[in-house]
């Protein structure tokens, strides 16, 4: 199981605390830089993308560190690792699909706003199935 040399294991825990704390501080620094609190705010798409990429990468590193070092996933057998970690890969597609959907909705919403501004002509609209309501005969 875990490291039998207990002094080394205890030291590793405090090293882990230092790593997680340092990564968190770096993340906050990058985030504040990206929002313009440390010097001029970056404006280029590349720098903003880099800020976002670094934040996500460092968070994933923290997640890896917590799971494999603190939760000792590194010491579990392969079958346990796979049954817990592989299903998480489903989320990769969920993230891609839903974020794409959200983005697409934003773009379509802007189109809808624009079309609402156009002068409407009901007779010329296409895709309108019901042009006039049929008259209902009242029999009693």
């Amino acid at each position: 199981m875990a490291n039998t040399d207990s002094a080394a294991a205890i030291k590793a825990v405090y090293v882990g605390m230092f790593i997680l704390g340092a990564v968190t501080l770096i993340e906050v620094g990058i985030s504040l830089y990206g929002k313009g609190h440390l010097g001029a705010a970056p404006t280029s798409t590349f720098m903003l993308g880099l800020v976002g990429f670094l934040l996500i990468a460092l968070s994933l590193y923290k997640a890896y560190f917590i799971i494999f070092k603190f939760m000792h996933m590194g010491h579990e057998v392969r079958g346990l690792k796979l049954t817990v970690l592989l299903p998480v890969l489903l989320l990769v597609w969920a993230v891609i699909a839903f974020f794409h959907e959200g983005n697409s909705y934003k773009e379509r919403r802007e189109t809808i706003y624009e079309r609402n501004e156009l002068p409407a002509d009901a007779k010329k609209q296409t895709g309108q199935l019901i042009k006039e309501l049929p008259e209902i005969k009242k029999e009693h």
Partner: protein, 322 residues
């Protein structure tokens, strides 16, 4: 661990060739734990996996709604306050993300003390387990206290609700009107954030746009602002292209997403603290001494506690950092 003497190292399968397959069948013949962990620990892993999907569902909903919104409140504007009059610096000094970084450190440190408790458990050191679990509980309770302050500040002072987001973002650059309807000289740029104040509210933090609530005491359409029925003061402005407008609310979903997701995480912290207390008391009373399984209950609650820290990594990322 609870396995018997015939423990198979899974890495042997790769080196032993055909022999590995034979041993794999033996693994499943019953009477031993295939994954070399107890049933309870394995099920804790699977519970955490399912919980990860719940949180992922919430966070992905947050992401897709944020992607679908034309603007979004800037985190370091929304979360720039801290207790004790901004740590004694006064409310005119913004402290973006400082308080929530402190909250993150609390969770990291309590995770570390939890690992220490598990290590002492492996050594069957009862006093060590109780001591380190006690420190973990202090850390968890401290986090909950910080979150309580954060929530009460957002709800009570800044008037954010589940359906109202007073944190807006300018989509044009322009100049605010003063309370007589004239140009006030107070300008803003595209993308600048603002907090919509409320009638009679004593905003300790003025968020850089003056104390608008001084001039208004009832709903109505005034020269300098539109005050809605709930009492939110939407300051009027003239955009650079000459059009007039007033400060509108931010995206309606922001409040509900924030309160539900951080609330769901906070509820996990709360239940974690409760279970930590129960297991610490059990450990102190010597319940786990006779089991001679290296304080496995401490290990299980440890897994849960690290998971709470793990979720916070992502809540911190999407709500505060990005």
């Amino acid at each position: 661990m609870a396995t018997d003497s015939h423990v198979i190292d899974p890495h042997d399968h790769d080196t032993k060739g055909h022999g590995g397959h034979h041993e794999l069948e033996e693994d499943w013949s019953g009477g031993k734990n295939v994954f070399d962990v107890s049933y309870g620990k394995l099920m804790m892993w699977y519970f955490l996996l399912s919980d990860a999907f719940t949180f992922a569902g919430f966070l992905i909903a947050y992401g897709s709604i944020r992607f679908s919104s034309p603007s979004w409140p800037v985190p370091d504007f929304v979360f720039q306050t801290a207790p004790f009059n901004n740590l004694g610096l006064g409310h005119e000094v913004p402290l973006p993300l400082i308080f929530v970084t402190f909250m993150s450190f609390l969770l990291i440190i309590s995770s570390v003390t939890m690992v220490r408790a598990v290590q002492e458990g492996h050594k069957e050191n009862k006093n060590g387990v109780v001591f380190w679990m006690f420190l973990t509980i202090i850390g968890g309770a401290g986090f909950l206290g910080c979150q309580a302050w954060e929530w009460s500040n957002l709800i009570g002072v800044e008037k954010m609700t589940v359906t109202t987001d007073p944190f807006g973002t300018h989509t044009t650059s322009g100049e605010y009107l003063d309370h007589d309807g004239n140009r006030s000289g107070e300008t803003f740029e595209v993308g600048d954030s603002y907090l919509i104040h409320m009638i009679g509210a004593s905003h300790g933090d003025d968020h850089g746009d003056g104390h608008a609530e001084v001039h208004y005491d009832k709903p109505g359409d005034f020269p300098g602002a539109l005050v809605d029925e709930k009492g939110y003061i939407h300051k009027k402005f003239i955009a650079d292209d000459g059009t007039r407008g007033y400060a509108e609310f931010g995206p309606i979903a922001f409040g509900s997403l924030f309160f539900f997701i951080t609330g769901f995480h906070g509820f996990h912290v709360l239940s974690g603290v409760v279970f930590l207390i129960i297991i610490m008391l059990n450990a102190a009373s010597g319940v786990y001494v006779d089991r001679k399984n290296g304080y496995e209950m401490v290990e299980k609650i440890g897994l849960y506690w690290h998971f709470v820290d793990l979720v916070w990594v992502f809540v911190f990322l999407v709500f505060y950092l990005l």
